[in-house]
């Protein structure tokens, strides 16, 4: 088989994977069985499609083939160990579990993967595996852990879903807001790991930011009335729009120095539309506000033309929802542009963020602007000691090198 044909089949499979797994889990109630059956369907597709051509509806073909494989497998299990499971599965006349407010297999699977009874790192891994179709090796390398560690984490999470009888459904209305929060948090964590990667690898991992955006699109499409889901998608699009301008020659380029001609206008337009939809609804939440901040930045033709008072006002609004020092730090960066570095430094120095690299980097920058080179150098060193993104390190090293005296 030609490499092209193989790549084409694998691309279709990857696109259909989340939907395929979700429908198999719904039908058979078993994640492992669903994954095995999907794998067997892929093998069959790789044998048949290059010779016979891709079927008109590849998704339906994969679902049917995988479903048949799953039933074969249950029958074999039954013969081998005498379980009665197969008979029950094949002639299952009990109605499916109540599906909650929206009937979509993938939505149910996302809520199952991001269930609060699972550890946060397990939620991320499981979401990427089952909805994104990433291999265990890919997820392990994205999060810089051994493949065996990641495999154990995923196996344990699946065992907990099965053993604790964690339901495969969208939560009831009363639980929905808090559970959507967990799903959105997982998607953002996946994006952030791609956008500011830790370790020695690439500073930006486009495959992870792309995967996060794909998941955010699914959640937004499935929960169109959830404004925070809308806000998160907008936030990711407006951030992704600046991706290629953000690193030059292996060094991070801060917002004010970026080549705005290199920003992705299509993503910005889409993000702005979503932000406008949020503003019209006027029920602000964390992701909507962060998206609005990014809308202000991407609206400005030059860094100097940025509407900083609007940015400060948005962070004020966010601080009322989330009075965390990290929000206060981001607000202070905008305050520096509006009221000068001295005012901002006074705010920043009060924040209990010792050891947080962005805090040290922000202090360093403000001290540099105030001409306090020795203090700035100390803060650049503190930031470098805890910063593990290679492009950001390169940027901090250059800035430190430029200090006078």
């Amino acid at each position: 088989m030609s490499q092209d044909a193989r790549a084409a089949v694998e691309r279709i499979f990857r696109d259909e994977y989340g939907r395929l797994i979700a429908s198999l889990v719904r039908r058979f109630g078993d994640i492992d069985l669903a994954e095995d059956a999907a794998g067997e369907a892929l093998v069959t597709a790789l044998e048949k499609w290059p010779a016979d051509g891709v079927p008109p509806n590849p998704g339906a073909w994969l679902t049917t083939t995988a479903g048949n494989r799953a039933i074969d497998r249950i029958r074999r299990e039954k013969l081998r160990d005498g379980k009665h499971q197969a008979a029950v599965m094949i002639a299952d006349d009990t109605p499916h579990a109540p599906t909650g407010v929206i009937e979509d297999d993938r939505l149910r699977l996302i809520f199952t993967c991001c269930h609060p009874a699972l550890a946060p790192e397990a939620r991320i891994a499981l979401t990427l595996r089952l909805l994104g179709g990433l291999t265990v090796a890919e997820i392990a390398s994205a999060f810089l852990v051994q493949e065996t560690t990641m495999a154990q984490r995923i196996t344990r999470a699946k065992a907990k879903i099965k053993g604790a009888n964690i339901p495969y459904r969208v939560p009831e209305n009363e639980d929905l807001p808090s559970r959507v929060g967990a799903v959105l948090a997982v998607v953002l964590l996946i994006f952030n790991e791609g956008y500011l990667s830790s370790g020695d690898g690439d500073p930006i991992r486009a495959e992870l930011t792309g995967e996060a955006i794909r998941l955010a699109r699914i959640v937004h499409q499935l929960l169109p009335t959830d404004l925070e889901a809308t806000g998160l998608l907008a936030l990711l699009l407006l951030t992704e729009a600046r991706r290629t301008a953000r690193v030059r020659g292996g060094e991070l380029v801060p917002l004010e120095e970026q080549d705005r001609g290199g920003w992705d206008r299509a993503l910005i337009a889409e993000g702005h539309d979503l932000v406008r939809a949020c503003l019209a609804a006027n029920r602000p939440g964390r992701y909507q506000i962060l998206a609005a901040v990014n809308a202000v930045h991407t609206d400005a033709p030059t860094a100097a033309a940025t509407d900083w008072s609007q940015v400060v006002a948005l962070y004020d609004q966010l601080a009322r929802i989330d009075p965390s020092p990290i929000v206060a730090l981001n607000r202070a960066v905008a305050v520096a542009e509006l009221d000068g570095p001295e005012v901002a430094l006074a705010i920043v120095e009060r924040l209990p963020l010792d050891g947080y690299h962005a805090w040290h980097a922000t202090r360093a920058e403000l001290l540099r602007r105030l001409g306090r080179s020795a203090d700035a150098r100390e803060q650049y060193d503190a930031a470098l000691a805890v910063c593990d993104n290679q492009a950001e390190r390169a940027y901090l090293l250059r800035k430190r090198g430029q200090l006078a005296g």
């Binding site: 269930h115 009874a117 053993g163 604790a164 009888n165 964690i166 339901p167 939560p171």
Partner: protein
């Protein structure tokens, strides 16, 4: 349906700070919760335990059984009581655990029984 153990954890320090009046309220709230479990048809069994001072540990895995005074784990927090409920899924168990925790004012661990 799956059976779940809902075990109540608490420390003697915590309990020492509770007034007799509060204790009475907790007993009444727990009693109401127990009645709710029965009314919902999910009740299997429940019980409160005496303090850890009453615990003994028997190790019969060697040649002769060894009996030691005190709980198996020397920790600050111990199981004070438990429920066993039979519910459709984990989310339902978590809901009952939240109500049970509120009633008895202690943290509740939720664990499914192994499937047969």
């Amino acid at each position: 349906m799956t059976q779940y153990l809902m075990a109540v954890h608490g420390s003697d320090d915590d309990y020492a700070q509770i007034t007799a009046e509060q204790m009475q309220e907790m007993f009444e709230a727990t009693d109401r919760f127990n009645q709710q479990l029965r009314a919902d048809g999910v009740w299997v069994f429940a019980g409160g335990l005496e303090t850890v001072a009453s615990a003994s540990v028997v190790d019969g895995s060697g040649e002769a059984p060894v009996v030691t005074d005190g709980p198996y784990l020397e920790t600050k927090e111990h199981i004070g009581g438990f429920w066993i409920i039979d519910v459709p899924d984990h989310d339902t168990a978590l809901k009952y655990a939240a109500a049970g925790s509120k009633a008895c004012q202690g943290k509740v661990e939720v664990r499914p029984f192994q499937a047969e």
